[in-house]
């Protein structure tokens, strides 16, 4: 079995956890409202404080979820990052699937199969 057996999916395993440690640690800090404010005040400084790689910082700067996941981000932690900008899980889903938010919501509804 390959390490990543599910198509269209990066399972968050040890390799991803190592790669994404600093990024996820920064996102974990967003549990605190003061830290969310500090991030918004100077994003680059905040990323530097957590030791993000250049690729991670750039993915944060561009709000690019697929690249954040590729860089080791975990969905539960990235949700804390997305929340700072008022983005919900349908915004995130749309971005990752190349759909509009309405198209993504329609896809969810279609799973009813009615």
């Amino acid at each position: 079995m390959s390490r990543q057996p599910v198509p269209g999916t990066i399972i968050f395993d040890g390799e991803q956890a190592r790669k994404g440690y600093a990024l996820n640690k920064m996102c974990y800090s967003f549990n605190e409202a003061d830290n969310r404010t500090a991030f918004l005040r100077d994003e680059d400084l905040y990323c530097a404080r957590y030791g993000l790689t250049a690729a991670q910082s750039e993915a944060i700067r561009s709000r690019n979820v697929p690249r954040l996941i590729d860089a080791g981000g975990n969905a539960y932690y990235l949700a804390k990052f997305a929340g700072i900008f008022g983005l919900d899980m349908q915004d995130i889903g749309a971005q990752q699937t190349g759909l509009t938010k309405d198209q993504f919501k329609a896809r969810l509804l279609a799973a009813r199969g009615e």
Binding site: T9, N24, E32, R36, I69, A75, G83, D88, I92, A111
Partner: protein, 278 residues
Amino acid sequence: MAEIVGAISVSHVPAIGGAIAKGLRNDPYWKPFFDGFPPVREWLAQVRPDVAVVVYNDHGLNFFLDKMPTFAIGAAPEYRNADEGWGIPVVPPFRGDPALSWHLIESLVAEEFDLVTCQEMRVDHAFTLPMALFWPDQNWPVRTVPVVVNTVQAPLPSAARCFRLGQAIGRAIASWPGRERVVVIGSGGLSHQLDGERAGFINKDFDLRFIDSLVNDPTWATKYSTAELVELAGTQGIELLNWLVARGTLPARVRQRHVNYHIPISNTASGLLLLDPV
């Protein structure tokens, strides 16, 4: 001896907390979800449990990836909720039951389930939302024991292992000399995937088969590896492991008291299942 009066399994997503805080119970989007709960509340009012053992996964409130236990158990006198990053109002604190927690720890470790023990623990939406859905006045009538399963960072415990953990929790409760009535809560699932090109994946056929299996063939899902379960239920659908723990606490023969299934809440297929021993 203490008695398990039943097990309730239910989905959790942070958006439910937002909907409760904004009073959206009767909003057309949310109504089919919230309408599933009155029969469960009526049952709880009848059986009047003293303790809730809540099996869930933490999403980065109490545990970060610096220390990630496969299984953990609370042994605190009180558990508090906190901001998980979205500023949703927190719910009132929950009473613990340290004596029962330590009995569970003794019993489970003796059965070779080596859980991390937590005398301080914050509880996130996966713990608080089922409680708020079952007891909307948030005046919690039960003491609580949190049991945390790693569904976040692979390798995850197998479905078979989770089921056996549930069986061991069931034996531990049965051997507690108190007269408590215990409800077991399994929190998570059903099928959903937040991340990757496959985001938005929902598998209704699998979910319905899984729910049915918990009633009629409880070890059915244990034949799958966690990778297979991710393929069938999605990267976060794997939270169904918490349902398997909860089911494992009950005897082989159970009665389905109530079921509700609705697609979608947020990106998730929501399930609600109340089982009690025959």
